[in-house]
């Protein structure tokens, strides 16, 4: 079957977004999109209502008939209907899990990684050594009421006692599922296979137990895929069955419904693999910030549950502290009044900044939310802990051990930002500057934003299992990702090292496609932006001694870079970025950088 048209929806907790992808002139393109409020809660209590409303908007805009009464008409017949329909979902709070492992930093962490990778929110990590007494653990399990529990522990053939103890704690707590009182809680066991029969004896009656391969069969190896797949299966079989209208929705889709963040992760993983690059993706929402990364072919996802731009904006303020937010604000402001303003955004989360001052404050908070989420991500995206490494004499003085962060900013090739504050910033220069200030990329890094947050829909499209259409859907997902989803902002070039030690830390020679040449000198403390289209630009970067731009201390690089809607940004401010503590110097520097970026033209005046 030739895939000619695809309808994809993402049922978020507040909005359901539909996109229509069509095969036109030999390529797949996003042609129309529509949205409508999600209808999981009263008075509708049927998710398909929102799906139909969003699809109706697509119908109106495209003039194409997609609905047949209250059904999506598949496959395409003539010019009406669509060949396939797919969906993701995070409505009703998404998938909420609790995970358990014997050693917190080993199987506990592997279980957490599997659950996060599958797109769930991890409510708590229980471990034999987490310092809590059994009765405290039991109370916690009872309070949380997760959708599902992933239990792991022990390497295959190792000691079984601890993991059985954990199972006994679960049994004593007799956890109840979050949605509905009429079914048993799904529990996945992915631990030492020697303990399987004892685990079945302990939990088989009380819970809906499912056994899969050990998540950590040997210390040196993590085996997350079977658990991730099992989580997706149970998400469909149990959790979704309880959510209002999902049975109907599931009967409509041509591929299993995926949890929204799981789909985004799958897409980012695929892009990194295809391009052979290291990627960081971020989605900053109202309540949470999700960060996805692929470094050294290893995928990681973290959810910073209470770092967001509306519902949890006050928590960003609490965690970052007021001075850290204020260091991004290029004017003086009464601190107490500022906290009241931020508080008001929390209790009225749907408001938008009308004045420029309000916008600047919101973007300052976004920088801190992103920075803190990335700190958490770097701490989680690490090598496997507990692995013994052979050491040679040359390693004897090196302290690097297992558990080192995989995130290497110099290695990073691409940052993709999404979420209202990044995707809908009035100026793309503001999005680029927020990404640079909060992630502090080093060397050469491309910057992009997701135009309308369609990564979830593309992610589920790229993961269709039906062999007949799988490859075409994957191609379509990648084409649309490249052409319609990503808005290329440009490239950031940030030298690191002893920038203050030399007069000109970085010399740059650029040659544009039209033959035009440009020489740039980057000085310490400077931010320079040059306009450049999204096309190949030949670049020769010559760092001074003690300065590195990717090839090592003082090593020259000849490469090809790309511009974008913002262009090329040369960041000579150094790493880590230090903002002057004195208010007058801070304001003068922020204004200088803002002017260079054309970020807030009105403030410079």
């Amino acid at each position: 079957m030739k895939l000619r048209s695809i309808l994809a929806t993402d049922c978020g907790s507040t909005t359901t977004k539909a996109i229509l992808i069509e095969f036109i002139d030999g390529e797949y393109r996003l042609t129309h999109r529509g949205e409508a409020p999600t209808t999981v809660e009263a008075p509708f209590e049927d998710v398909t209502r929102g799906v139909l409303n969003a699809t109706m908007e697509v119908e109106e805009l495209s003039g194409r008939k997609i609905l047949d009464g209250d059904n999506i008409s598949t496959p395409q017949k003539g010019d009406s209907g669509v060949d396939i329909y797919i969906s993701t979902s995070s409505a009703g709070g998404g998938l909420q899990m609790m995970v358990a492992g014997v050693v917190k930093s080993m199987t506990g962490e592997s279980a957490e990684r599997a659950a996060l990778g599958a797109g769930s929110i991890v409510m708590d990590v229980l471990a034999s050594n987490d310092g809590r007494k059994p009765h405290e653990k039991i109370t916690r399990i009872r309070q949380l009421r997760p959708d599902m529990i992933l239990l792991s522990g022990g390497i295959d053939g190792g000691t079984t006692k601890h993991v059985i103890e954990l199972a006994e704690i679960l049994a004593a707590a007799n956890p109840q599922p979050r949605l509905g009182q009429d079914y048993k809680l799904p529990v996945i066991y992915a631990g030492n296979k020697k303990a399987t029969s004892d685990i079945e004896r302990t939990l088989g009656e009380l819970t809906d137990l499912d056994v899969t391969e050990n998540i950590r069969p040997v210390l040196e190896q993590e085996n997350l895929k079977p658990s991730r797949d099992k989580i997706h299966d149970l998400f469909m079989e149990h959790v979704m069955q309880q959510a209002p209208g999902y049975k109907k929705l599931m009967s409509w889709t041509d591929a299993p419904i995926m949890p929204t963040p799981g789909a985004v992760g799958a897409l980012i993983e695929m892009v990194a693999k295809k391009e052979n690059i290291s990627v960081v993706g971020v989605d900053i929402g109202g309540a949470t910030t999700d960060i996805f990364s692929v470094f050294q072919d290893q995928f990681n996802r973290t959810v910073s549950a209470n770092l967001g731009m509306s519902y949890s904006i006050c928590n960003v303020l609490a965690e970052a502290s007021l001075p850290n937010v204020l260091r991004w604000v290029p004017f003086d402001i009464d601190e107490k009044e500022l906290t009241n303003r931020i508080g008001n955004k929390m209790i009225r989360p749907t408001t938008v900044p009308q004045s420029l001052e309000e916008l600047v404050i919101e973007q300052a908070i976004a920088r801190e939310a992103l920075r803190l989420s990335f700190v958490q991500h770097k701490a989680f995206a690490v090598n496997l802990k507990g692995v013994q490494k052979e050491r040679t004499i040359s390693d004897a003085f090196e302290q690097s051990d297992s558990g080192q962060s995989l995130v290497d900013m110099m290695e990073l090739d691409l940052i993709v930002g999404s979420g209202g504050v990044l995707s809908h910033a009035p100026r793309r220069e503001q999005s680029a500057k927020m990404l640079i200030d909060s992630f502090l990329p080093e060397g050469i890094t491309s910057l992009a934003v997701d135009s309308i947050f369609m990564m979830p829909q593309l992610g589920v499209m790229a993961n269709i299992e039906n062999k007949e259409i799988a490859e075409q859907a994957r191609v379509a997902a990648l084409e649309v990702f490249e052409k319609d989803c990503l808005i290329r902002l440009g490239t950031c070039i940030a030298p690191v090292g002893k920038l203050s030690g030399s007069e000109i830390p970085l010399q740059v020679n650029l040659e544009f496609k039209n033959g035009e040449k440009k020489d740039i000198e980057v000085r310490y403390g400077e931010l320079i932006r040059i306009e450049a289209e999204y096309e190949e630009i030949k670049a020769v970067l010559t760092p001074a001694k003690g300065v590195d731009v990717g090839a090592g201390d003082g090593e020259q690089i000849s490469t090809t870079i790309f511009g974008g809607q913002v262009g090329i940004v040369f960041d000579g401010r150094g790493r880590p970025l230090e903002i002057d503590a004195s208010s007058s110097k801070r304001i003068s520097n922020l204004k200088k950088w803002s002017e260079a970026m054309n970020e807030y033209p009105e403030i410079g005046k």
Binding site: E168, A172, N344
Partner: protein, 375 residues
């Protein structure tokens, strides 16, 4: 006519109120359909399973897990009291015995021959749910609770702290612009719900706590003062479980903001009446706003009108409240709802409403407006 859906806070003089009262776990409902109830009446009861303690008998007695059953003195299902002997080794010729005593009073729930753990469950914890408002039982949810129907004034606040409370309404400030200061509060206000205008300071709220005031309803409070009241920084607006004698309901927002005219007038007209209030707030999907319910004697003839859903969204002529600066807290009337996007000072392109405030027409993003739902 142009129309926009912006959910607003309800300020209703006379409406039908349905209140669901549910147990956290299944139990017994102690009232029946059609019964009249008062706020303090208990309508359902249950027992929450008691806390669980685990004792690793194998470790403590240094025996194999598989041998634990042999050393157990107490059996599964038997009741034990704190410090009672539950397991003992045979010792050597009856001497050098080692033993384990129960750390709590409860029932032996399980004995594991895999890990040697013994689970002791403490006595169940009784839970009761009261009616909270005056009304009539409209529906019985079997083993779980009831729905109570009532009629009266219903006001939603924007944010609150503290749980359910009730008391007579007492208007403290002269008008909706005036603040409540500490010297206005005394022990005479114990058990009352005091209503102010634009603001209550931290000192005044603390005085209300000292005087055991049942609740405070006011236009604004300082966000940063919440730290001292709660003992932590409120990062996300999920409240209601705070242990506070005086529930606080803020009707407008953080800072000094005059209380909406309709809200103030409605409360003033009900001065002296018994109200049920709840400060519980949850600002997430499935939003919960704090509420003030003032039941009035029902008049059956009016009920038909009360059943109508009044949520119509924003239309020309709607009364709206500005919920973000500039003009934060001001009330105006919608004059026009232009369809096209307009650019704001922040350069954000948004759909706007043109509203009249104090005789001046201003452009405000629709998402920065809230319909004041009145009847």
């Amino acid at each position: 006519m142009a129309h926009s859906y912006t959910p607003g806070l309800k300020v209703l003089k006379n409406t039908k109120i349905l209140k669901e009262r549910r147990l956290p776990l299944k139990g017994a409902v102690s009232t029946s359909l059609g019964n009249s109830v008062k706020p303090d009446d208990i309508i359902a009861k249950t027992d929450l399973p008691g806390n669980v303690q685990m004792v690793n008998v194998a470790n403590q007695l240094n025996v194999d897990a598989s041998d634990v059953k042999e050393v157990m003195v107490a059996e599964i299902g038997s009741e034990v009291v704190k410090n009672e002997l539950i397991a003992e080794t045979k010792g050597l010729f009856g001497f050098f015995k080692s033993s384990v005593n129960s750390p709590v009073s409860g029932t032996i729930e399980s004995i594991s021959d895999l890990t040697g753990q013994v689970v002791i469950r403490e006595a169940p914890l009784p839970v009761e749910v009261d009616a909270y408002i005056e009304g009539v039982i409209d529906e019985v949810i079997e083993k779980e609770g009831v729905v109570i129907k009532s009629q009266g004034a219903f006001i939603q606040g924007i944010f609150g702290i503290g749980g359910e409370s009730r008391g007579e309404i007492k208007i403290l400030s002269s008008d909706r612009d005036a603040e409540i200061s500490a010297d206005m509060i005394s022990t005479d206000h114990e058990g009352l719900i005091i209503v102010g205008g634009s603001f209550i300071s931290l000192d005044a709220y603390k005085k209300a706590l000292d005087c055991k005031v049942a609740g405070v309803v006011v236009g604004g409070f300082n966000y940063y003062d919440l730290d001292e009241v709660l003992g932590y920084t409120l990062g996300v607006a999920i409240t209601g479980s705070e242990d506070l004698i005086t529930s606080l309901i803020v009707t407008e927002g953080y800072g000094k903001i005059q209380m909406g005219q309709q809200t103030f007038d409605l409360l003033k007209n009900n001065s002296g009446k018994l109200a049920s209030i709840n400060g519980a707030t949850q600002i997430r999907a499935g939003v919960i706003r704090p509420e003030i319910i003032i039941p009035i004697k029902s008049n059956k003839d009016d009920e038909a009108n009360l059943d109508k859903d009044k949520t119509v969204g924003m239309t020309e002529g709607s009364t709206v409240r500005v919920i973000r600066s500039p003009n934060f807290g001001k009330i105006g009337t919608v004059k026009e709802l232009p369809a096209e996007l307009r650019q704001m000072e922040s350069e954000t392109m948004v759909r706007i409403a043109i509203i009249e405030i104090d005789g001046n027409k201003v452009e405000i993003p629709r998402s920065n407006l809230e319909v004041v739902e009145t009847d």
